[in-house]
Amino acid sequence: MSTTAPPAPLLPSNAVDSTGPITAADGTPLQTALSRATRKARIRAFLLVAPLLAFVVLTFVAPIGQMLWRSVSNDSFSANMPALTAWFAENEALGSDGGPEGDGIPGEDAFEALATDLKGARENRTAGIVGTRVNYDLSGTRSLFTKSARQARKLEAPFKAALLDVDEDWGDAELWSVMRSASRTYTGDFYLAALDMQRNVDGEIEAVPENRRIYVPLFVRTLWLSALIAGLCLLLAFPVAHLLARLPLRYSNILMIFVLLPFWTSLLVRTTSWMVMLQSQGVVNDLMVAVGIVGDDGRIQMMYNQAGTIIAMTHILLPFMILPLYSVMKTIPHDYVRAARSLGATPSTAFWRIYFPQTVPGIGAGVLLVFILAVGYYITPALVGGSSGQLISNLIAFHMQKSLNWSLAAALAALLLAGVMLLYWLYDRLIGIDNMKFG
């Protein structure tokens, strides 16, 4: 445009004013017009996803929220022992050195509250619940509660003496410290327990003695075995996926059926068939004895230990590695490797420098998928893992079903979830979630 041009003629009055909001033909602001025009489409889109949204909220967000809630809240003591709970709340300062004698045993008023509550517990039949709760932290105390509750009606002042008469364990300072922490409805103690830590009599956090640590070593074992299983799956799946992607359709379809066959078989059947194969009197050992590789007394123990868990889980999770790898490999045209070869690359250079890097999104997806599935795996380790092949989920199940310590189970599960999310985040930082291809 020439700079010497005369001033532009006046714009027609209805022309767009560059400083004001842009308007549509009828004068409404363009933004309003646009959102009005697209509202219907947006409402329809929302209605279409609404069922899924409701389903996800109901089946995913709610249970996980419930679990997280349970891991920090437990009212089995506070709800059933109201008087003593109130007394603990009022006598905040009474710690280890509390009590008239300074021995950590409170005075008569606390025992009176205890006796009141035991009577209530007798009537409501809740002594067992309270005893179970205290028993989490101090084993052997459940019977103390049930026994004392049975005799609660006969208790008369002075209650301290009367209760100590029923069972002298009531004079244990540790018991009182444990009851105090159990009386708090909201507590982080279950997380402490899940990390092999506890509060001592003084209320300070300390690690539990070496020989009682179970959870942290189990977490470590779970992560390590899962990583190992993911690695083994990758090693086995890569060539298979490559072959699947390269074979003519007619053969690759047959091979794909073999890959998917395990999916169509019950998990239990697959796991038990491994038991048949690998146990010390199983097919593989029999074969090796028959061939003479091992003697009859030297049968290899491949079942009911870590080896069993690793072998069976690698097999069961293999399809989850093959499928993402296959879907990525199928999209890599054969021309890339040909181009590399024509440019002078040996077959192995062409593989490592050209083919392999392009499969990384599939590797990332497969490894992450298998790893996360393995971390939470339950049935297979329970059946074939013996004691050395148990994973953290087996312990979670134990607390859900046997010890009924749901809060501890929830805390363990929450820690597992946090760990997996941390890994996911790390993966995102290192490789990028966008780079992932599941299928």
């Binding site: 045209p333 021309d335 890339y336 040909r338 181009a339 590399a340 070869r341 024509s342 440019l343 002078g344 690359a345 040996t346 077959p347 250079t349 062409a350 420098r353 050209i354 890097p357 392009q358």
Partner: protein, 373 residues
């Protein structure tokens, strides 16, 4: 750089590539390439042209080493290469979909062949830079292939195939994915690179105008057999058979029987009864069925009496105005698909559909080829 370059310096007369009785079958039942015999001279631009499925890519892949020949020998620089793996053949290749490595930048793509040859970093960088300048993309070294337009990717692919200085480059429909305008520009550029570097190029296309503009020689493939191998003008003006005449450019076909042989010429009695003089190409004496082939631009409409040795009467069916010329569709000798191109000049006679008009030509331009079945 390539190892082959030094070996061959003494044998400049011998062909660079020789296909000797090469056959190829994928399934053991049908031959996709049937007895291929071609010599490709050093520095030549040879195009393989043919319809889809005629075996062009297969021949190229055998030369590059990605498909084994079922029978016969392929000789490169005097050495049989049937058992030489592709990476030792030192042949550059441009793929139809370019095959640029998506996880590498343009510069890394170009450096790849140099790296695998263990060239020093600085030498490689200099060569990459020169190659990018050659294809007029000096600024694009840091981009990923996905960030380039189709034409730019194509240039990078050409640069990559040439950067390690092979003396033979294969291109399999490298321009197939580009639009018409870009194709024409790239045809020119590839031809220009070929001339300035002096490399031997074997080029595959099924676009005949591309083949005509670029090549020194064209091998016309059909059904696994080379129908004719000659320079573009010979191919166009002196097709050896009906397939080539039909495949390259437009041509009018008239069916008939040879009535009389007069040296290189012959008199053909058309199925409509007219008798015309033609150049005899198809072997055989009197009574041989033949297809006459005449290019539309070699035909004179309403020639002055005595101006053309051959004239036949016809009728104008349709006129198509094309600016520089007018396509006249006529009914001549029993066919109404007879096309005449009339140059659009000021003095031309007015034409109208339905008008009676005669057509005439020089017998030299009318070739009696094998009869179309």
């Amino acid at each position: 750089m390539s190892a082959n370059a030094a070996e061959v310096s003494g044998s400049a007369n011998e062909p660079m590539v020789r296909f000797k009785n090469v056959q190829k079958s994928y399934d053991g039942e049908t031959l996709v390439v049937k007895d291929l015999n071609v010599d490709i001279a050093r520095g030549e631009f040879l195009t393989m042209l043919g319809p889809s499925g005629s075996g062009k890519t297969t021949s190229l892949m055998m030369l590059a080493g990605f498909e084994p020949a079922t029978h016969g020998e392929i000789i490169l620089n005097g050495r049989p290469i049937n058992d030489v793996p592709p990476h030792k053949r030192g042949i550059g290749m441009v793929f139809q979909n370019y095959a640029l490595f998506p996880h590498m930048t343009v510069a890394e793509n170009l450096a790849f062949p140099l790296q695998v040859r263990k060239m020093s970093k600085s030498d490689a960088a200099a060569k990459v830079k020169r190659a990018l300048e050659m294809v007029e993309l000096p600024e694009f070294g840091d981009r990923r292939p996905a960030q380039l337009s189709g034409g730019q990717q194509q240039r990078v692919a050409v640069a990559r195939a040439l950067v390690f200085e092979p003396d033979l480059v294969l291109m399999d429909e490298p321009l197939g994915a580009l639009d018409k305008q870009l194709r024409e520009q790239m045809q020119y550029e590839i031809k220009h690179i070929h001339e300035s570097l002096g490399v031997t190029v074997v080029y595959v296309t099924h676009d005949q105008s591309e083949a005509l503009t670029m090549s020194d020689r064209i091998a016309v493939f059909n059904d696994g057999v080379i129908q004719q191998l000659s320079s573009p003008d010979t191919l166009y003006e002196k097709p050896d058979n009906s397939f080539v005449a039909q495949f390259i450019g437009e041509n009018n076909r008239l069916q008939g029987v040879i009535n009389e042989v007069r040296g290189d010429a012959c008199v053909v009695k058309l199925d409509s009864g007219d008798e015309v003089l033609a150049e005899q190409v198809v072997p055989g004496g009197t009574g041989t069925r033949t297809t006459l082939s005449i290019r539309p631009e070699r035909i004179e409409l309403d020639p002055a009496p005595g101006a053309c040795p051959v004239t036949i009467d016809g009728k104008i069916e349709e006129l198509i105005y094309l600016g520089d010329h007018i396509r006249v569709r006529m009914n001549v000798a029993g066919t109404n698909e007879f096309i005449v191109k009339v140059r659009n000049h000021t003095g031309r006679k007015p034409l109208a559909a339905g008008q009676q008009a005669s057509v005439g030509w020089d017998p030299i331009d009318c070739r009696a080829l094998d009869a179309l079945t």
